[in-house]
Structure formats: C-alpha cells, structure tokens
Symmetry: C2
Subunit: 494 residues, 2 copies
C-alpha cells in the first residue's frame, strides 16, 4: 500500500538536475532489443487499444530479473526508466537526451505548423484527431536533419488542445519558446511511476512520460475537461496543454505537457500531497531528509493542527470548486488523486529574505499588474482563481501586498500571512488503482475508511471532508491581528 | 423531389388556429388499436434504438389504405397526424387537446421539480440522462388528477437542457409560464412531416412532435451543440430548450421545444425558406395564395435580384457564423437544412402602419432597453446576434431606430431599410434524407448540382455560396440615400 503513496509529486521541482540535456549522446538503434515484457514492442499501425502495455509500475520488481544481481539493480530501474552504471538515464532504453531533443524538435515543428492553420469551432470529434510528422535523420523538406535515429512525432488532438491553450490564455509563440528555445531540465526523482519528468527552463511547463493507458484515458477525458473548464474556469484540475507520442523504431513514448502549479520565483516553504486519508500518510524519513520534502496528510495534521485560515467567501468558493472538480473525477471512477498544496509564508520570507539561492521574490513587492513579460506569462497560467482572488472580504492585507494571481491568501495558526498554491493532481492513474484494489482487498476490509485507495464516491467524500474540516478553515469571528500587533506580541514573548 | 420542398417551415405562425386547446375532449383509450405499421406499437421498457419507427413521412400514401376511399382521405392523413371527419386532429390516434394538456401537465411538473435541484457542472453523460414521471388519472402525491388516460412524461437530459436554457438566458419560471400558463395554439399546417405544431400563447416557443429517430439524433447532437454554442454564441442553429416523451398506453410521442425565430410583435413582410438550390425551389400556387406564404430560392432571386445589403463587417460576421454552423452540420452528415429568412420592411411599415390585425409595432418606437417584461424575454431569446448588432459601421439608421435584438439591419434593392430575422432550420431530418437519396438517385444523376438533396459537403458549399453571393451583399461603396433623400426621390417619381 505505501508504494502508491510514494508517487512523485508532479511538481517536485527542487530536485537535482542530473543531465544538462545538451544532446551530447549519439543515437543508438534498439530495433533488435525489443522488450515485449516491458511493452516496448508495439507494431506499427496497430490501433493503440489493441496493444496493451503491461503496467510494471505497481511492483517495480516485476520488471527486473529475478535473483540477487537484479535486486541490487532495483534502485536503478523503475518502470521503463533506467539509470545505467555510467549514470545515464534511459526510458524504454532511449537515452534521455535523445528523447528530450527529439521531443523539442517535434514540438517546434508541430506548434509552428499549426500557427498557420485557421482556428475553427472545436467539436468533440476533434479531441480524437491526430497529426503525425516523420523526422528522418537526414532531414526532409519540412524537418531538420538531426543526429538521432529516425522518429515520428504524433500530435494528439492538435486543434482541441490548441483550444485548451487558448482557454488557458497561452500564446502559441510563448508556448513554443517556453518548451523549445532552451534544453529542458530533467528531474532526478522518477517516483514510483518510473516516468521521466522534464521542466521547461523557464519553469512554466512539465513534460512527463505517461503510459499508453494514461494517454488514452486523458484523451477520453478531454470532452468533459472542456465542459468543466467552461463552466468552472477556476478548476483546480491539472492544466494539460499537450499530448504527444514519440515513436522511434518500435518504441512508443507518450508524453503530456502540463502547467507547473508552483511559481518558479516565489519560495514554497512547505509542500503537501494530501489525499484525505491518514493510513500511512506520512512522509518517509528519506523524503524528510530532502531539501524540499513533500509532506503528507499526517504531517499536515501535525504541523497545522488548526489548518489554514481563509476568509469565508474565499473558503466557500474554494470548497465549491473542489467539490465540482471531484464530481468530474468521480464520474470517471477516478480515485487516489491528491491535493497538491504549497505554502509560501509571507512573514517568514520577510524575516529571512533571500535565504535560498533560488530567486525568492518578496511577495509584498510583486505586482499582479507587472508589465514585465515573464510576469504576464505567469499571470496567464495562474488565471485559474480569478474569482477566488476577487472576493476578499476579510482583513485586506493581500490588497496592500498585491497577491500573485493563482495563489490564495490566508493565515496559518501562528497568524503568519501565507500564500497558498493548490491543484488536484495524479488524476490519470485510475486504471492502475483498480489493479491495486484487487491486491489490497484484504487491507480494505481490515483497515476500513482510513485506507487511501477506496471506492470513488467514498474517496471523493473523504477527500472533500478532509479539505473542508482539517486543511482549510473559515476565518474565525475574532479579528486577525494586524502585522503591527503581531510584531508587538512577538516582542512581548521575547 | 418536390415533396421534400413542401416541408412546413417550423415558424409558419400565421396559420388558422383550428383548435382552442381548452381540453374539452375526453380521453379515449386506444390500447386495442395499435398500429404497428405506423410505429404506434412500442412495447414498454424496450430500448428506443431497438424500436425503429417506420417513417411514413416521405410518401404519405404509404400509410393510407389503397383504393379510392383512401385516396379521398389523403388530405386528412399525413404521417401520424389525422384529421377526423368532425375536424378533430389526432396524432398517433391521440386527440390533440389531450396531447397538449398532458404535455403541459408534464412540463409544469418537470420544470417545477427541477427548480429545487441545485445546478452542478453539466458533463457529457448528463445529455443522456432522463427522468420519467407517472401521471395516473386519479392523481398521486406529486401529480394532479386529470380526465385523460394515465400517461408517463419523460424528460430527456433535464440538467443538460436546463443548462442550455441558462445559456439562452431563459429564466426557468418564465419558461414555465410561457409554456404552461395558457393553452397553446395549434397550427393547422402540418407540412410534409405530419408533425403537430403548437405555439405558446406568448409566441415565444414552438412545441413540435418529432419522430423517434429525430429525438435520438438531437440527443446525440447535444454535446457538440454545446461546444458550438460556447465557442460561437451567435450561432444560427435552432435553439432547442427541451426534449420530452409523452407515453400513453403503447403510444410514444416525442416532442421538442424550441424558440420561435420571429418576434410576435413585429410584422414579417416576407418569409423565405432557402436551401441554395434552384431546382424546383419555387413556392407552389397554393402556398402563394396563403396569407403569409413561405417563398423559396427561385422566388427570392426573382423578388430580390440584387439581394439584401449589409454593412461589410456585419456581412463578414454573418458569413463566418453561417460557415461555422454549417461545418457542425456537415460533421453529422446533415443536409437539406434551410435558412429561414424573415424580412421586416421598416419603411413599408412606416408607410402603412397598423395594416394588419396583429400587433404591428413600429420598429422606430421599439427600444431594446424596454423594461417591459415581455420585451426582456424577447431580448434574451434574441440575444443570438449581439456581436452582429454591435458592429454597425455603415449608415447608422439603426442606431436611431433602436433595432430589436436578434435582427440584422440592412437594405433591400429599393433602398428600403429592412430588419432581417434568420435561423438555420430543419436540421434533425438527416436520416430521412438518406432514404430520399436512394429514391432520387436517378434525378441526382440527371439534374446535377441543382437538386437540393446532395452530398453533405457539396450541400454545405452550395448553401454558403448561395448565401454569400445571392442572398446577402456587402454594402456598395456608393453612399446609401438617407430617408429624406429617398422621400424626395419618390416624390419626384410621382
């Protein structure tokens, strides 16, 4: 059970960069090395649904050879991700730098090509369309020459996902620049899923490998994603902006592009992955030893026994949004999703400015109307909570401090002003959970409702209950102390 | 072929009212009189798709008995609609007054019940949901007693279509009042389809019987209808606001509710049903003899050889909208739709005010900001062209005269100011057309592209071409004469 709780948070951005992505590795052809057991061997032109890709994520040992040698290698192989003895990362035996460079080539061509295509009304069927571009190593009339193996790059739902990017206020040329102008940063922590994570150099987007079933599932989700986004523009669900397939010889690698929930220029002091369960929901000692650990439900209850306080209108709107998003997820029997929660402590940042090497912009100086281009980008990504931001009723500190868009201002129990960044993540793994359910049927029976993997309706209800009773609280009637009062109080304590 | 061209325009509102709808007729049980040939016999609880309802609309004679007596009866039976010797209209042998009263009972209960239900995010699957209410003659805890046979009333997509009504700015209580507070008006002209048409007393909505396949087709259309409406709010497609099924014994009668395109308080001087074809597209002498005939393509070319003139921005937006709507229709292989076009001649109305018994409001006096409740209703229904209304670039007569919402101001060739009311109608009959196609394969071969029933892409292209080259024209560079100048010119001619 605890395995599922060790999934990497898809926003674990403060990890060691293990590869510069400069594309120094030359391509190696693996045509003879297909590994059917790992789902690497997918014949051309066979409909995806007919080619199930065995899921080796649940039990990493299942995809390694048996015996002592294999066990020793366990840390270096998870899912399709391997780390060679030379420290080189591969995915389905494709060297990561080759994968990244090919993806960037594919993205560059696909986004550029689409720029000339007029925008028509997007209909449901457009979510199931795709475009494939062939990139021979020697180049072609439309594609550049490159030093890797020939590959194909498939763009799923080109018009549908361009429409999504429009809804997210992403300019196509800025999307292209973010993803293609500089090598991406590869994150070192693959988590239990064995995915490869890249972060665009500007910190705006994640590019992540997903399994075939996750890609198919995302495609099925898109129409309702649209419905939800149109009716609830403040949705907390992940902002998917691209779904692609890189195909090299017989290897198919699906990737998704999604927004980074956390800003790269504001320090996140605490980070949580919350599911509403308390069963084994505690960060491991190994996780805690990290520079920027992701804590879990029990840690939150321990560190914030009084929760985070929001003014009542904002609290109500946030809960309404969480309920609506969870209803969409339940309609697809999705479970095991998490609320990713990052806390920037405004007062702590003031007390200890520039503590970290990362650009730790003081929130009090940051203007939402900053005409700086980068901030404009940011604001368009973090446009997800405009209403939440507009409804401030209570103490108006955030009006003075110009809260960055997409964050929710509140207080912690100590009275510190905090900015909260949230999203509901890990929504594509539904089918894997079903498998786990079978394995853990017994534990479900004995552990009752504290197990994090459960019936979708139950999961949703417990999730919502936890958020509205333990994580977020309405501002109490007593007046929150002003920063000046707090300073005085702190002095008195000293 | 000409048969298909004689379909009633669904807005043919100036017809004789043949039944007051006061519900004076008592119910008759037809359980023993099922007519399998006419698709009347549908067993309970069998999925709709398994119960094809033979289509007797194409050839009215097919549903009558052969022989002289039957032939004499031809005018009195079309599709499922019959007129008895006593002049009583029935549909599937249900007396029209019983049908109308039962529908109003069903609507009253369904809309009222839904008023208490909170609005959640509508997802694709909600378009396929339904609610059924049973109305026993003796009444029940929730339903009133009535003098008719027990019946069931099924509401298709209650949440989905409520969401549509919200998008159309229809208040639920006003919808209820429009449809249920007074008996509806039954229109006497059933057209080739043999449907029963009711018009709500306030002229806002049409209630129309449809065949099973049309109802199923509408349900399939709804998700993309939503997509189109959200992306192109000025859509000209019919505004469907309800889909219901009345079930009495073994008879299933499906009905749709849709908006009336034409205002009830502004005189429509000319009315056209345009398909972009010229083959036999001429109103019959019988049609022309009517008080308010619906003319066709050839009549339009004859009466408006120079078309109707719009300012260029409005022209471009209208064409863009027609193209977008037609693209949606083509994606469903829909053909044989029409542009319903109504012309109110502002100058003619001024010259001959109050000519008709109907309330002929002078457009120059009508304010779009009229606080009168009825006009508010009107404006919400006719909100479909707000952009079109906002873009006036050319001569600004409409600014002075306060154009009613939903109408498009322009000029005819004589220089008269006109208000144009348009919609794309008859979009649910797609499957019937396929049948016709087989029957008319030969005529297609010989008549080439002038036949109105053709391949969907061809149909769309020809339709659009006709609208943008023959029906609507961009305002020419020469300055349109002002009304004063025109008056002078007219005097001179005299």
């Amino acid at each position: 059970m605890s395995q599922s709780n060790e999934n990497i948070s898809s926003v674990d951005i403060q990890t060691t960069i293990i590869q510069t992505g400069n594309g120094d590795h030359t391509a190696v052809t693996f045509a003879q090395e297909t590994d059917i057991q790992n789902g690497d061997h997918e014949p051309n032109d066979v409909p995806e649904s007919e080619v199930p890709e065995p899921d080796s994520d649940d039990d990493p040992q299942s995809s390694t050879n048996h015996g002592t040698a294999a066990r020793k290698n366990f840390q270096k192989k998870r899912g399709h991700r391997r780390v060679t003895n030379a420290g080189e990362v591969t995915y389905k035996k494709i060297v990561s730098s080759q994968l990244m460079n090919s993806i960037q080539m594919g993205l560059h061509h696909a986004i550029g090509r689409q720029a000339n295509k007029p925008e028509e009304v997007v209909l449901i069927q457009d979510f199931y369309e795709s475009d494939t571009i062939f990139f021979p190593a020697n180049g072609s009339e439309k594609t550049p020459a490159h030093k890797y193996t020939d590959f194909k790059f498939k763009v799923h739902s080109p018009d549908g996902l361009r429409h999504f990017r429009n809804l997210y206020d992403i300019k196509q040329d800025e999307y292209l620049i973010s993803l293609c102008n500089e090598p991406m940063i590869e994150l070192s922590n693959p988590g239990a899923s064995g995915s490869i994570f890249y972060l665009s150099k500007d910190g705006m987007y994640f590019v992540k490998t997903v399994q075939q079933k996750e890609a198919v599932f995302l495609q099925q989700l898109l129409p309702n994603y649209y419905m939800n986004l149109k009716q609830k523009p403040n949705t907390l669900l992940p902002k998917f902006s691209g779904l692609y397939k890189y195909k090299c010889n017989t290897k198919n690698i699906r990737i998704i592009v999604m927004h980074n929930v956390f800003p790269s220029d504001i320090e996140i002091h605490q980070k949580y992955d919350l599911k509403g369960s308390t069963y084994k929901r505690k960060a491991s000692d190994k996780e805690k030893a990290k520079k920027d650990p992701t804590y879990k439900d029990l840690d939150f209850l321990d560190q914030h026994p009084e929760g985070l306080t929001l003014d009542s209108k904002r609290f109500n709107e946030l809960m309404s949004q969480i309920k609506s998003d969870c209803r969409v997820l339940e309609s697809y029997s999705i479970m095991d999703y998490s609320l990713l929660l990052g806390i920037h402590n405004v007062d702590k940042a003031k007390r200890k400015p520039d503590k970290k090497t990362m650009r730790s912009v003081s929130v009090t100086c940051k203007s939402t109307n900053n005409p700086d281009k980068k901030d404009n980008n940011r604001s368009s990504i973090y446009h997800s909570h405009p209403n939440i931001l507009e409804v401030d009723q209570s103490t108006k500190w955030e009006k003075e401090t110009q809260v960055p868009e997409g964050s929710i201002p509140g207080y912690n129990a100590a009275g510190d002003r905090v900015l909260i960044f949230i999203a509901i993540i890990d929504i594509l793994q539904s089918y894997r959970i079903k498998k786990k359910l079978e394995h853990t049927f017994k534990s479900l029976m004995t552990d009752g409702d504290t197990v994090s993997v459960h019936h979708p309706q139950f999961y949703r209800e417990r999730f919502i209950h936890f958020m509205e009773s333990s994580v977020f609280k309405k501002i109490p009637l007593r007046v929150i102390r002003s920063p000046t009062q707090r300073k005085k109080s702190m002095k008195r304590k000293k």
